[in-house]
């Protein structure tokens, strides 16, 4: 008992710096955001006035917010399913390499964008998609396509284009997760399937996918959260434009609300947090139960 207490105290000392750090940079601002969301705030004068759910009502009824939610949903729908499918396929191909070296090289290449600064990546992609000077349109022109899209400058193409950038940024992370998970599946399962005459496709759908369920749930949850919070690459490449076509919730918060109504900005943050928490919980609840059972 005494030994246990001593271990507990030492353990607490080890985690104490992290607790303090997270408390200061995460929980305190979070609590403050919750508090501010129910107040009319003047951050310069340090005054606040209780307004109840007034800010939430205002935010939810605002056409700009509603539009930004639609834009965000569009972005999520373009990025998350594509990420799941492509990362699974790529992972299966990488795991299938006979030489481990090639697999490692491929994984590293796919992972590189994850460790690249999103701001730098955004600027580079901005140039790649430039209508007159960009690589993409010059290649398309060389191939004979004269009316190539204006990508980031077109209200109809800007969202799919930033989705491509978001996809590129996140793909490597998912590939690493799936490759690791696939490598941990015992080879005996596949050997038994081979003996039973199962094709590669059948093995993938009957063995690999079910056993990857925990990772699929995790990746889909993480990617949903990342996509819903997409900001850096969008802000750098389009700043929410053209004509609000890529103004996601976070871009809307920063550009339209932050310096006009701080309380409303906090209300958006709270709404976003609650929404993502609920979705994550539901994903975990409904997608993971079958595997755990």
């Amino acid at each position: 008992m005494l030994k246990h207490d001593r271990y507990a105290r030492v353990g607490f000392l080890f985690v104490f710096p992290s607790v303090v750090f997270f408390g200061l940079v995460f929980f305190y601002p979070l609590a403050l955001a919750f508090w501010n969301a129910f107040h009319n705030i003047n951050i310069l004068q340090g005054t606040s006035e209780w307004v109840g759910i007034g800010k939430f009502v205002k935010v939810l009824g605002h056409s700009g917010f509603q539009r930004s939610v639609l834009v965000t949903c569009g972005y999520v729908l373009m990025v998350v399913p594509a990420l799941l499918v492509f990362s699974l396929v790529l992972s299966a191909i990488i795991v299938g390499f006979r030489e481990k070296f090639f697999g490692d090289v491929a994984t590293t290449i796919f992972f590189l964008p994850v460790v690249t600064s999103l701001v730098s990546a955004g600027i580079i992609w901005q140039w790649i998609f430039d209508p007159t000077l960009g690589v993409v349109n010059n290649v398309l022109n060389a191939l004979g396509l004269q009316d190539a899209p204006t990508w980031l400058q077109s209200p109809s193409m800007a969202l799919p284009t930033v989705a491509v950038i978001g996809f590129w940024v996140r793909l490597g992370f998912d590939v690493v997760i799936f490759v690791t998970a696939m490598n941990s599946i015992p080879a005996s399962y596949y050997e038994a399937a081979d003996i039973d005459g199962a094709s590669a496709l059948q093995q993938f759908f009957r063995i690999t996918l079910p056993l990857l369920n925990p990772q699929i749930v995790m990746v889909s949850t993480i990617e949903f959260i990342f996509a819903f919070k997409a900001f850096d690459q969008i802000f750098v490449t389009t700043r929410g434009g053209p004509s609000g076509a890529t103004k996601t919730v976070l871009v809307f918060l920063l550009k339209d609300v932050f310096n006009n109504d701080y309380g409303a900005a906090c209300a958006i943050t709270v709404l976003l947090l609650c929404f993502l928490f609920t979705i994550s919980f539901l994903q975990w609840k409904f997608l993971s139960t079958k595997v755990e059972q």
Binding site: I43, L44, Q45, K58, H62, S63, G64, D130, P131, T132, Q146, T150, Q153, S154, P155, R239, G241, P242, S243, G244, L254, K255, D256, V257, F258, N259, N260, D261, A264
Partner: protein, 430 residues
């Protein structure tokens, strides 16, 4: 009698001595005033505030004072300012619009009103066109950063090539369209390789609106009502819609614009467009970055109204309430209210001065400006509507976004109606 003579002699030499020694020393303390500017497109212009400010402040009685000029990225500058000021920090002096930052009624009260003598000094010295900048609800918080006035830039080589006289720029919208059509070049497939004119439709919505509203004004429209409480019936009035239609037609009916060319300044400097509207700042920038582009500057075009373009963005130098050196900053403003200060602030980047003394065509600096004659002619006209509104950023941003939508194919009336609805929503909330 002898003592009176002695006193008078001492007094005389003291006065003469003081006059020759320069201004009395006010403080020998080491002081650093920080200045934040959003004019990142011209670092020499921002640095000029630091250099001229330091020089004049030292001559004003602060031998150890320095003014440190820093650029704040225009994109997201409001958030950076707000975060800095809210934490009790931020610069001593900053570039902003008074209605947004004025202590008395501003959206985010940070800028302190100038002392009476400084306010009166600027009231009497500022060129009438820039006089309202830096003021809000009758109080003066600062003075205009530069005398921004949009004018028409033409590429003279393109004019000659098209058989047009570069001394004769278009004066009306009809002439503008005709000349733009003659200047436009296409390739075999019909794709525009050189725009007759190129509008601003990319980047920050505020900048887009700033460049578009003069068009709205010359068509007789307005962004907001006179009392600035309503947009419906103004930005979507028949006159304003005509302005949207004018821009729309330039792209889709007359086909004199290639939207792929991006920002108008860059297109002009690359020779991709023959005409653009811009303030005097483009002249110095083009001479430096594109010396092969030969150009001339003319006053803005006219339509139903013959307005000189008012400036949407009334950028002014303001002083923060958080500054520990407010009195020094006030003294700096006193020192800058001189021709020497005005020229020192604007000459390095060839920008428009702001004081009447330097803003007039007879002034030596004014004579050196490429756009001087066009500016002088513009100033003879009535200035278009101004909007000194605390939420100008948010409101004008919407106009910019809807203009972009219009140029990308949305019907002009629909774009104007959407702008009106969104602005009224912003006026009521955020």
């Amino acid at each position: 009698m002898k003592s009176i003579l002695t006193f008078l002699t001492v007094a005389f030499f003291s006065v003469v001595g003081a006059a020759y020694a320069g201004a009395p020393v006010k403080s020998t303390e080491v002081i650093e005033l920080t200045y934040w500017s959003v004019f990142g497109q011209s670092p020499p212009f921002v640095q000029a505030f630091g250099d001229t400010g330091t020089k004049l402040l030292r001559a004003y009685g602060y031998p150890n004072a320095t003014v440190k000029a820093e650029i704040t990225n225009f994109e997201g500058y409001e958030q950076k300012y707000l975060s800095a000021f809210a934490s009790g920090k931020g610069p001593d002096i900053f570039v902003g619009m008074a209605p947004a930052w004025a202590m008395d009624g501003g959206l985010n009260p940070v800028a302190v009103p100038l002392p009476d003598d400084v306010a009166k000094m600027y009231d009497s010295k500022l060129a009438p066109y820039t006089a309202s900048w830096g003021t809000y609800k009758g109080k003066r918080y600062g003075f205009a950063v530069e005398g921004l006035m949009q004018m028409l830039y033409i590429n003279t080589d393109h004019f000659k090539e098209a058989g047009l006289n570069p001394d004769k720029a278009p004066r009306t919208t009809e002439e503008f369209i005709e000349i733009a059509k003659k200047l436009t070049k296409t390739d075999g497939s019909g794709k525009i390789t050189r725009s007759g004119y190129h509008p601003r439709f990319l980047g920050h919505g505020l900048g887009v609106a700033d460049k578009f509203l003069p068009i709205v004004h010359i068509f007789g429209g307005r962004m907001l009502s006179e009392d600035m409480k309503k947009a419906d019936g103004y930005i979507n009035s028949p006159e304003s819609v005509a302005a949207f239609q004018f821009y729309y037609d330039l792209v889709y009916k007359y086909k004199v614009v290639n939207l792929d060319f991006g920002m108008p300044e860059r297109a002009f400097q690359q020779g991709l467009t023959s005409m653009v509207f811009r303030e005097g700042c483009l002249a110095g920038d083009t001479i430096e970055k594109a010396p092969n582009v030969h150009f001339r500057v003319f006053p803005y075009i006219t339509a139903a109204k013959d307005y000189a373009p008012s400036n949407l963005l009334t950028w002014a130098n303001l002083i923060s309430k958080n500054s520990k050196h407010q009195q020094v900053a006030f003294d700096l403003f006193r020192a800058l209210a001189t021709v020497e200060g005005d020229i020192g602030l604007h000459k390095p980047a060839m920008y428009e001065p702001v004081l009447t003394e330097t803003f007039k065509p007879t002034n030596e600096y004014f004579k050196t400006l490429v756009y001087g004659p066009a500016l002088a002619e513009s100033l003879k006209k009535k200035i278009g509507p101004e909007y000194l509104h605390p939420k100008l950023d948010a409101i004008a941003y919407i106009v910019g976004e809807e203009l972009t939508a219009c140029l990308k194919g949305l019907a002009p009336k629909a774009a104007a109606d959407r702008a009106a609805k969104r602005i009224d929503e912003a006026l009521a909330g955020f």
